[in-house]
Symmetry: C2
């Protein structure tokens, strides 16, 4: 069920702030229910979190999943989703959905692209057809999708990148953000959707600061940090957060896009980040790499052929309660789909459970301690 | 939990016989619980029913699943399963398992084979390594697996096949059945496992009869009809049943190996068959072909792109209660694993539900009526 949202009563509430980190516990209201932050959003690019049943996501109290406008535009196409009555109905998911604009995908997947102030022309990575997206097109499409949180078109750059290039992309991202916001406010969708702004600026801290300030001046329901997790070293990522977070208003959610490994998320929460998404748990799961309290385990390895222990002895998910490493290794070696189903489920469970523990630690005001304990244990075997 | 079986108290009980067909409702006791017949056994060749969670099989009241000795011998190997404490523990499945010997696989998959009275030499289809299976080897391996119903090594022929070839294979199958039975009776495994015999004889009715009679003379816990569903026309299959069933004792279960499509199963039950297995529901599911009351539907087809109906409007499985054809078609077109998970689940549900309806119809003594109704409706759109 969709409810109208009411920006007069605060949609975002901070419940608790950590005393000795910048971590915070908060709640975000959306048209399909509330999201408890810090949150991990399982990635469902094509309107499915790969190899995971919706029923399992629901049972695991997943608050929000992510889908991608670029991918859904190409396949199945907006007309088909419109005919179903929007993305929630199309995929039978009644809880919040965040849709990324596809800016990142246009820049990372498409064969050719031409960026103008009006928008971006690109060739589909599926069949080479040429399309054009304006910032307004993306808003219109996300209106059809009916997702609860929508992202505007932005221009991403890679790592490393020249200052001039970052500067141009930053300016264009601000221009597009403004156009998107104007279009959005003129539509009825503003009563059902939250629109976030995306900070760019690569690894140039003054550009990051400027980008953040320009977006805050326009005014969004939340702020995302984009253009990270594109190959930069871990230290730079932490530094980027330190140089951006101070310029994002405390009264709005902060979304660190496309990140990350469990210990990166734990650190970023300590830097004041509230929302995360990454394909890591499902992608790694499909390749037989599973997360445990003590780090990552490559389940295909020969050492596990007779291992009667669960994937993670500290985990209480149904996979760990029932199956042995020996059996799951056999499934991967036999190219059996059940192997990746079990590993993907376990990994998603690991991420969601981690966020629960993060929220609990902030609630009990022991986040610094938790962060230290988690990272020490997680990195103990690697 | 494994219980010892007691051949003194009848393991197989016929509860009801159809008045105007040869269909029967019965129960078979095994060390891991009872099996309600007629039964469909989902195929889990490599110790997994492809893309289906064990939990879902359990929820669907699956009485028995099938696994394959040849495949499990090659991967993960008997030592690993032995170390786990047998196949049930290795795969975490506590209900009955039937293991096929792999006779069929040696003849259909392996690169080279040399058949002697002592057994068969063959090359693994995985890496070309040469192995030798004697009838006694197969019994020993199935003893390690600890499956509830075990099949002896048999020699399969294809279709069409020359009489001479069928005759030799038949004689060898009887010889191997005798050796297997002798080995089996000398082992403790006889107190926990049921051993079936496999009738061969291709499409030569006198050979089928002779094979059945020779096996009955040796004496088995149940009788299987092998060497069918190898490409012969549907009429010949029905004829083969008519020419074999009369020679199989009514006081033992009859297993029609490797069959079949839903309407074939419905017909074969009417010919007195009790047990069925086929990869059809999961294999077809993986390729987007789903079973409905009115026949098979190829969900990838363009006609379903905007179809808001469930896979089968007459089905009450969770997939049909929740998802549309439009969404599932999108998943297949996007090569998303969830598509084949949903289609495989629906198809397995369809087969298991069909068997429930078959048992109910026999119980209410209206099998002929049911059979006619089912086949008319099932073939209505094809």
């Amino acid at each position: 069920m969709t409810r109208l949202i009411d920006r007069q009563s605060k949609l975002f509430k901070v419940l608790k702030t950590s005393k000795d980190t910048r971590a915070r516990l908060s709640i975000l209201q959306t048209a399909h229910g509330e999201i408890r932050l810090p949150v991990f959003m399982p990635v469902g690019t094509n309107a499915t979190v790969k190899a995971i049943f919706h029923e399992d996501l629901e049972k695991l109290n997943t608050d929000v999943i992510l889908a991608n406008t670029y991918h859904l535009f190409l396949r199945p196409g907006m007309e088909i989703i419109k005919e179903a009555g929007g993305l929630h109905k199309f995929m039978s998911w009644d809880k919040p959905i965040l849709t990324d604009s596809g800016g990142y995908q246009v820049f990372s997947l498409s064969k050719m692209r031409k960026v103008l102030d009006e928008g971006v022309e690109f060739q589909s990575h599926l069949d080479g057809t040429t399309y054009f997206f304006s910032p307004e097109d993306i808003m219109r499409m996300e209106g059809i999708l009916g997702s609860d949180i929508i992202m505007p078109l932005d221009e991403c750059v890679g790592y490393p990148c020249k200052r001039k290039e970052a500067q141009i992309a930053c300016a264009r991202t601000t221009l597009w953000a403004k156009k998107a916001r104007e279009y959005f406010l003129a539509q009825e969708q503003k009563d059902r959707q939250l629109l976030f702004g995306i900070v760019q600026g690569a690894t140039f801290w003054d550009l990051r600061r400027q980008s953040a300030q320009e977006l805050v001046d326009i005014g969004f329901d939340g702020y995302a940090i984009g253009g990270l997790s594109v190959g930069e070293p871990d230290e730079l990522l932490q530094e980027a957060l330190g140089h951006t977070e101070p310029f994002l208003p405390g009264g709005h959610p902060r979304y660190l896009m496309g990140l990350g490994m469990p210990d990166q998320i734990v650190k970023a929460v300590g830097e004041g980040m509230d929302m995360f998404d990454t394909v890591v748990p499902t992608r790694y799961g499909r390749y037989g790499s599973v997360f445990t309290k003590e780090g990552r385990v490559i389940i295909r390895n020969g050492e596990f052929s007779r291992d009667q222990k669960p994937l993670d002895p500290a985990c209480d998910c149904f996979v760990c309660k029932k199956y042995t490493r020996s059996y799951i290794r056999h499934l991967f070696n036999s190219h059996e789909i059940l192997g990746l189903q079990l590993a993907s489920y376990h990994n998603i469970y690991f991420y969601l459970k981690l966020m629960e523990r993060i929220r609990q630690a902030i609630g009990e005001d022991r986040y610094r301690e938790f962060q230290k304990e988690f990272c020490t244990c997680y990195n103990s075997t690697s």
